[in-house]
Amino acid sequence: MRQFGAFIRKEFFHILRDRRTMLIVLVMPVVLIILFGFALSTEVRNVNVAILAPEPDDMTRRIVERIDASEYFTVVRWLDTPTEIHETLRAGEAQLVVAFGQHFSGNLFSPDGSQMQLVVDASDANMARSYISYAGGIIADFSREMAAGTGTSAQEGISSSVQFLYNPQMKSAYHFVPGIMGLIMMLICAMMTSISIVREKEMGTMEVLLVSPVRPIYIVVSKMVPYFVISCINLITILLLSVFVLGVPVAGSLLSLCLVSLLYIVTNLSLGLLISTMANMQVIALMISGLVLMVPTMILSGMIFPIESIPRVLQFVSYILPPTWYIAAVRKLMIQGLPWIFAWKETVILLAMTIVLIATSLKQLKHRLE
């Protein structure tokens, strides 16, 4: 036990004395959260809108006012001719143009109805889709009120009403906080642990440690302890930042969220252990964790893109990535606020992965150099 204590103390010295690693390990989560939270936002807010109304009257003005009043859009310009639509979009003055048809108000109560066109700058396709649906929503609301107010049945048709549950404002933070949690824990636990074990091999200190009565399993487990502690600190940091800075509340039970997170941390520590048994150089360990883990996690784990929209073959890769399951579990427990039982599948899969990883790496762990 005293041996184990000495090992852990030594590991903390290594980490605390390496300023750069410390910085990466503790500041990276904060930077990522803030970066994703503010810079990479996919929220619709204050989008510039231009209006083309050939016959401006009371009706069109009321619609425009409605659009302008919403927090999503700001009307910046009134256009005079249809040719100006392209110019405005190309110059970037507006991202969306609302064009009213000829005789808009007059046709409103005619059998054919009146025409309206939404022209959007779709160079960012995802954002363009959001603008359309937001603007469409406002206009649909307005026409429904009109129909109700005048008592006419002219604009009945089928009206769909979309409701965004769990994330009514469509805040992107709700989407990426679970993703970032999955990514960070994996980087810290899997990458840092494996690099730190492999460093001992590279520096030749492993040689000295092996020629000692210490069992190799203690050597590697002692490596995990500090990174486990750091991951817990990161977990707390991320939760605090997302609740108080990004305004993403923990809707479900904090306890079950923490328990699943701890399980996920252990999964990644064992992943790091497995990498370290395969690699002999820090560069290799870095490559494995960087290329084989980090990149697929960012693309395939559902962190940014939904898994359902990934090609079938790659979906299979998604399913063997631990973050995929963790992120899904966090969405349920933290964002949707469901009780733990709804995340049982994710928990069991993570647990099974952990057991397989630990068993494999223990089998690979050598008490000799080769």
Binding site: R2, Q3, G5, A6, F7, R9, K10, F13, H14, R17, D18, M203, G204, T205, E207, V208, L209, L210, V211, S212, P213, V214, H367, R368, L369, E370
Partner: protein, 303 residues
Amino acid sequence: MLSVEVSDIRKRYGDTVALDGVSFNVGKGELFGIIGPDGAGKTTLFRIIATLILADEGTATVEGFDVVKDYKELRKRIGYMPGRFSLYQDLTVEENLSFFASVFGTTIKENYYLIENIYKMLEPFRKRRAGKLSGGMKQKLALCCALIHKPDILYLDEPTTGVDPVSRKEFWEMLKKLQQDGITIIVSTPYMDEAVLCDRIALIKEGRFMTIDTPENIRAGFADELWAVRSDRMHELLYAVRSFRGVDNCYAFGETVHFTTFGDGSFSPDALKDRLRAVGHGDIRLERTRATIEDCYMSLARE
């Protein structure tokens, strides 16, 4: 009583043969040297008797324990100092030492008497990080760390490589003292001049021991007539001597050129001096000399 018994150890890495049938014994309390250039297989041999790698063939027992079967018991009794500096550069001198003491389940205090002489020299740098020490100091610290658990046997793989001459001398004095404490020591070195400080030495070349004996016996066993020559034009000297009649093996030796002669009496020292003068050498000094370990190595390596 034997401390180490190695019999016909063989080890290959792919196509390269690292050890090609090595056998030797080391007595208890002996200072045994393994002498040979880099790549001769010294480190591989150390790793095998240190339980770190497995030999392809052959057996080895250390302190009565088999290096394969009883590796756990054996690891408590070995002190190993690898060729490369293998301590934690970011830990201080004191932290390194106390870490290795804990690893072996002991404390610095318990075996302090064993390292006292060496550690006293490190004491002023107690709080300095190991990475910031000089080469000689690093070696002393590594030796302390290898000794802290009072091992029965100490393996030192090229402990003096890259260390200044003064520190090298000090280091060997320390080894002599440790020997008096009853610790068996096996040390490897590429420096032939350190060989005479060992009780017995093995000369290793390409994975084979060419000879195992006391340094004195090895020197005495040198059969050929050996000459040393120097002049003011050392660079050409080697070629001039090599092509001279009656000269057998000729090689640079420090600041002189050493050569052996064929035993048939065809070599004449005066004729060589005349010849050298004729091709422009001045300040010529030619004399018979006694074979050093290096001469013995060169001679054996040729066979």
